[in-house]
Symmetry: D2
Subunit: 108 residues, 4 copies
């Protein structure tokens, strides 16, 4: 049972790490005023990715709804991150879009 | 801004506590076989209620979607809890239905 | 059983809200460069407060250790917040110090 | 910076999955009365492992204290799980002890 979720769990946990790394790096940038929305979305995204991974791992009855929410948050975070040239933002955007895609596949 | 969420935050946090109390009490019942689904849903519900309360408190851009998910989980948990005569289950069911109602009002 | 934790749960949940409110408000300040550490600690503190409240509500076997960690994080967050004149920071500092005190009392 | 935490993040996330899988499987056993403590500790452990992984990924200032708590919870969960012959319990015990060991190494 759990195996069918494994790819999605893995992407959520990769995305959680990328978002938290981006969040930490944004808070250390010289000018963080322009990173405010990125910091905010990184937190939103890492938290829902972590929540989704736990939900799948415990075989929650609400996996579809949780993964749909997760996909939406990942897409919003990816769109914000890809606007910024910092490597941590570009890496994070990639992880977000990949995670959103796998979550959508799971829901379908 | 935050004040418009206060009623919903309060209900989510009350429901989180009722669900966790019910979870703890279920695990101490003499026959917990029939409480398995209640234990499972109590955890699901307390975790999403806690997540929703934090999301509202930080003015998340995803409050509507999160509260809709929260309402669905609360209703499922309330329906399971109200089947059982234990006081902790009946109390929990009430908290779940109240929280679901306030979450739905917020989303609308 | 749960009642002996109620005061501590209440303070943790108040502090969680104050920290998340301060975090949101910091991200909207004109100059957020000087708020970077406050943003970071607000998130640390709201997350451990939320975690502690859930742990107490479910009668976790690790309440003492969790509340000790929570007290330490609250104190660090309070010390950072009290440096800033914004009302949200001053309010947050008060909530942090109050929560730290109640957590310490619980552990003792 | 983040790389030095990677081994510990990886173990925490593996342990989070093993604990949640064990929790789900325990709730499906024929006689779950004897699994009550295992269910309880699986949840405690998966939640602190998830919390610790996020904390490390965001370069939290409280990593040492969080990982020390995590190690204690992992050990308690591992000791409970290893008492039961179910494969999911034995697998979970191994993941818990490995995670505890890596967390202790990180703290030292």
């Amino acid at each position: 049972m759990q195996q069918i979720y494994q790819e999605c769990i893995d992407e959520c946990l990769r995305c959680m790490q990328a978002c938290n790394h981006c969040y930490d790096a944004c808070l250390k940038e010289d000018d963080i005023n322009m990173m405010a929305n990125c910091i905010r979305l990184d937190r939103e995204c890492s938290d829902i990715c972590s929540f989704s991974a736990e939900a799948m791992a415990r075989n929650s009855p609400f996996i579809s709804e949780i993964c749909e929410l997760c996909a939406n948050v990942c897409e919003a975070c990816g769109k914000e991150c890809e606007k910024h040239n910092h490597e941590h933002c570009q890496e994070c955007a990639k992880a977000c879009f990949r995670c959103a895609e796998v979550c959508r596949k799971m829901v379908a």
